[in-house]
Symmetry: C2
Subunit: 332 residues, 2 copies
């Protein structure tokens, strides 16, 4: 994908697009005649940073988005996807008419964005599962009062209530080896040193390799929200903003990737993707694969994000081999 | 005092100034000749909202503030008290030369700002102690990473660490009947839904009737900060921004106030002030008294702040009686 996050790095997404072009360049140079047509797709709005949606291109190619959806997704200035498309000279009213039924398989190269391949000293990661994601916007409603004069047992402190809930989220997630949970955005109102906070809003993102572990984390948070707001006579609202199921990638494609690594002498390992990717949308309806390359220091979504050009070249070679191998099967 | 807080109400401070003027008006009308000179003081920057200091006038009258202090206290735009005074046509270089040694006693009328007088259906509160305050700015330093790919046991999540500390602050405070603790201002960086937070800064305000209970709350938070940042290999900084000792008000003046209430048939009770007040600075070096009036709904530091004019008139009467009573003693 072409987009990144605010204050992000230079590799997330775009490195995979470059590797895809390189694999196809090798294909052209080699004079191989692939059985299937090969198309490089550079998707946009995979991150959902501006409109809080995400996986945009894949969803459009699966006709998952309606005109109503893209009118509802808005940026911080209230500009909808619909309005932004129109201003860019696109026709948003046609959004539901771009279903691609001619795509039979999908391969994506991507930086790992985590520390595992580097720690295990592997050149290539073969992705087994892309985790599912449940994301919600939580509002905890309290009451503004004077911080000195309102006794502790009469106050409705939104920061006290919200932190008692958030403090448990990480440890609950640690009960599942591959699950993660994060509160990335948190805002306090009125946010003044000598006023008891009347409202806290926060985003929470739960990920896991099974829907059960995602649901268990989410349910645990809701139970904490319920208990703490009952204790303080407060209220809360939860709005689900993203819901993506875990997707297992093609067993066959994984074995083709491993064969290529073995042939070329690239060290490799199976890995779970903790990040959502375009392959998740495509992989839900067709055989799909992901080839991971190590992130230096495991850093991602930050300016320090970096990947060795050497491993990106390896990933391009593996992608090229895998495309040829898929074409050899002629049974998609 | 004349100042209030941002998004505050119309009674905190200014109602007391009006009552003081009314008490002196009664004195003038009654043709009483008080033994001591009586001066109405309308202080400013008691709240410290703009420059994060507070109790400004009282401190100046006690020569507690130096030119260096008022150059250090700055507002959100980086304007110092020094610069603001200069722009207003005052001479900040003279700040240390305004010690008032001629003041022998201090009486302050103030709204309660809490729910106690209303709950107990009392017209007047006789303040025994003004709580001490310790206020600090805490910074918890983590590391920004991708929220999906960084395993839970390798992340340095500033929101997870900070909320694990803040979640305990309230319950620790509840161990002391009259102590309170509040995190009023909390900011997350980079504060983006899909980036692990790298930094949380928050203000914390501890209050209590004894220095021991204030120190115990503060120490408890420091221990939690220490434990949680060791657990996650993170760091923290704490800067103390306000330190005011608890002050017991004059026993004699309290009995004069009670005598006045009894004489006039006003219901009354002894009370602790959970808010800091100018009487705290004056009370540390001379006999001082505070006369509280009920806040409707216990609300304060918010637009709903309100007090019945009837009880403000009662407080003026009690202040008048108390001034006369003090003058009768002629032994300050």
């Amino acid at each position: 994908h072409l987009d990144s996050v605010q204050f992000g790095g230079a590799y997330d997404g775009i490195a995979g697009v470059v590797c895809a072009i390189e694999a196809v360049r090798q294909m052209a140079e080699s004079n191989e005649k692939p059985f299937y047509s090969i198309e490089v797709i550079a998707t946009n709005d995979e991150e959902g940073s501006r409109f809080k949606s995400g996986l945009f291109t894949g969803k459009v190619m699966d006709a998952q988005l309606t005109v109503e959806d893209i009118q509802r997704y808005k940026d911080a200035d209230g500009v909808s996807v619909y309005a932004a498309m129109k201003e860019y000279g696109l026709n948003p009213d046609e959004i539901a008419n771009h279903k691609r039924t001619d795509i039979k398989a999908f391969i994506e190269v991507h930086i790992e964005q985590g520390p595992i391949l580097e720690a295990e000293q592997k050149d290539i990661g073969v992705v087994d599962i892309i985790v599912g994601i449940k994301r919600a916007l939580v509002t905890v409603n309290g009451r503004a009062d004077h911080i000195g004069t309102m006794p502790m047992n009469m106050r409705m402190d939104a920061v006290e209530a919200a932190t008692k809930v958030i403090a448990n989220i990480g440890d609950r997630s640690r009960q599942y080896p591959l699950a993660v949970a994060t509160v990335g955005n948190l805002n306090v109102a009125p946010n003044i040193v000598n006023i008891i906070p009347s409202q806290v809003t926060y985003t929470v993102d739960f990920r896991g390799t099974t829907q059960d572990e995602i649901d268990a984390q989410y349910k645990g948070m809701l139970e904490d929200l319920q208990a703490v707001t009952v204790r303080f006579h407060m209220s809360f609202d939860v709005a689900e903003t993203l819901n993506v199921i875990p997707v297992e990638l093609s067993k066959d494609f994984r074995s083709y990737i491993k064969e290529s690594c073995t042939k070329r002498g690239y060290s490799n390992m199976n890995i779970v993707s903790g990040a959502g990717h375009d392959a998740q949308v495509f992989g839900a309806r067709m055989p799909a694969a992901m080839i991971f390359v190590p992130s230096i220091g495991g850093r991602s979504h930050c300016p320090e994000e970096n990947t060795d050009a050497r491993t990106l070249a390896m990933a391009s070679n593996v992608a090229y081999d895998t495309l040829l191998r898929i074409c050899a099967e002629k049974r998609l």
